[in-house]
Amino acid sequence: MILDALVSPFVHNGFMASALAAGLLVSVACGIVGTFVVLRGLAFIGDALGHGVLPGVAIAMLLGLPGMVGAAIGAAAMILGIGFITRRSRLSSDTAIGLLFVGMLALGVAIVSRSGAFSGDLVRILFGEILGVTRTEILLQLGATALIAAVALVCRRPFLLLCFNPEQADTSGFSSKVFHGIMLALIALTVVVSFRAVGTLLVFGMLLAPAATAALFSRRIGTMVVLASAIGAVSVYAGLLASYHADTAAGASITLVATLVFFASLIGRQVFRRQARPSAADRSQEAAARPAAGPRQAAAP
């Protein structure tokens, strides 16, 4: 039965149901935060935050503390580091942030290597352990996701202005520094609560891929958030199912589905647009209506 193959893994296995719940919460958090990461071009900072939490998690493991506590401390250190670099460094911030995150990654690996089960621990941190999430972790995730949604809702206007033009946020009475800080904190919180499910390395994929796919089809930012969350949710479901039947790593399968959906959408849209291209008469009418230079060219500062 096809239906059986699609549903029963989640009905008959408690760990699969938990994994699905955790994954869906990751999708919602990443759908909201990823939208702003994509629109503001913060992908690199998101990636850096993902890696920056590693030493925190490693130290927490050595001390026997919950991984999330360590991740939170690591993320806070990373945000402070990024803030310091962007203010002080004469290098391009990409270079400095790149070095910071490689340094944090190396520190994390060095710390983990002191523990007995080095490779096992490292794999769990980097790629997650969605099939082993506990009820407490899911509840924590639920709280964090609700908080992320609430903050994003309250800050939607300054966030939109920041995406459009940070100067407009400032001249509208919303400090661009403050709201940029809040946005970074939301990215950090998303990474911290998602790393148990999909890992510090793969959370970046869940942050970017569904939001980037949604950006291809959305005309409004609200639509983009909903679509990104939905695409993330479908990826979680399909990824877990593939992992169950094909015995592949769950976190990686989920992220793989999300990235495949993005590339398939990108190619599909190109093909569709080529087919739907207007006739020559329509095009000349369109050209007459728009006499100026190509919009992309004109947009370049």
Partner: protein, 268 residues
């Protein structure tokens, strides 16, 4: 150099003001006032300090020294009463936004974080789009518009703030002839409705038509009534090269710089 007029509370008041970046003055010692309903044009070559002065008025830059009062308070005290349109729009055009969403952003300054948009907000948005002739583009995504259409949308956004003071940085630069006519009419109507405006411009004709003009070349070359200030000599000090033609007409070129700034216009 201040032009002191019949007494209404000044919209802008600068005393020994120096504007610049990171503590380094670009234009020192500015003293001027601008009254309600008056327009001021800032004229000068690239790097002359027009944008720096506008950004200081918009509270995007802190004054290097001296004092600036905007609507009787420190710059930035009343975001809902001041509209600023800058020159660069870094990432805005790749966003999934329709024109009307962009114009609606103007109301955020008064709606703040959680205020609900009212009919009055929507009326301001519709009216601003109508006067700039972009109502028909309301549902168009921003990235399919031409450069001129986008600029009209952005000017509509500045108008929809319903501000008492407009700070506009080369608003007409990418507009075609029709667009410039519309924009000038809109600015005249705004001024007669009591709205003040400071406009950085390369268009000498526009500057001559404004109540006051300030010629900048990292210092104030001249400041006063629009037509009285824009003499060939003052323009020569500002831009470096002035070609006279016709009856009293002048054409201005920058002697360096990478973009055309030659407004042609009629100075007395």
């Amino acid at each position: 150099m201040s032009a002191r007029p019949p007494a209404t509370a000044p919209v802008l008041e600068a005393r020994s003001l120096s504007v610049g970046y990171a503590g380094r003055a670009v234009v020192p010692d500015l003293d001027f006032t601008l009254e309600k309903g008056r327009t001021l044009s800032l004229v000068g070559a690239n790097g002359s300090g027009k944008t720096t002065l506008l950004k200081t008025m918009a509270a995007l830059l802190a004054p290097v020294s001296g004092e600036l009062r905007v609507l009787g308070a420190a710059p930035g005290a009343f975001p809902a009463r001041v509209a600023y349109l800058g020159q660069f729009h870094p990432s805005g055009f790749v966003l999934p936004l329709r024109s009307i969403d962009v114009v609606r952003m103007a109301r955020f300054a008064s709606l703040r974080l959680m205020g609900r948009a009212t009919r009055e907000d929507e009326r301001q948005v519709e009216q601003a789009m109508a006067v700039m002739g972009v109502s028909a583009l309301r549902n168009e995504p921003l990235d399919v518009l031409s450069g001129g259409q986008r600029q009209r949308v952005l000017i509509a956004q500045a108008l929809a703030r319903g501000a008492e003071l407009l700070l506009l940085d080369e608003p007409a630069a990418s507009l075609d002839g029709g667009g410039r006519e519309t924009y000038r009419g809109v600015l005249r109507d705004a001024a007669s409705a009591g709205c003040s405006a400071v406009v950085a411009t390369h268009d000498i004709e526009e500057a001559a038509a404004s109540d006051y003009a300030m010629l900048l070349a990292q210092r104030v070359v001249a400041f006063g009534r629009g037509r009285e200030v824009l003499t060939a000599e003052a323009l020569l000090s500002t831009f470096g090269l002035v070609v006279r033609y016709g009856e009293g007409g002048v054409m201005v070129f920058e002697h360096e710089g990478d973009h055309h700034c030659g407004g042609d216009g009629r100075a007395p």
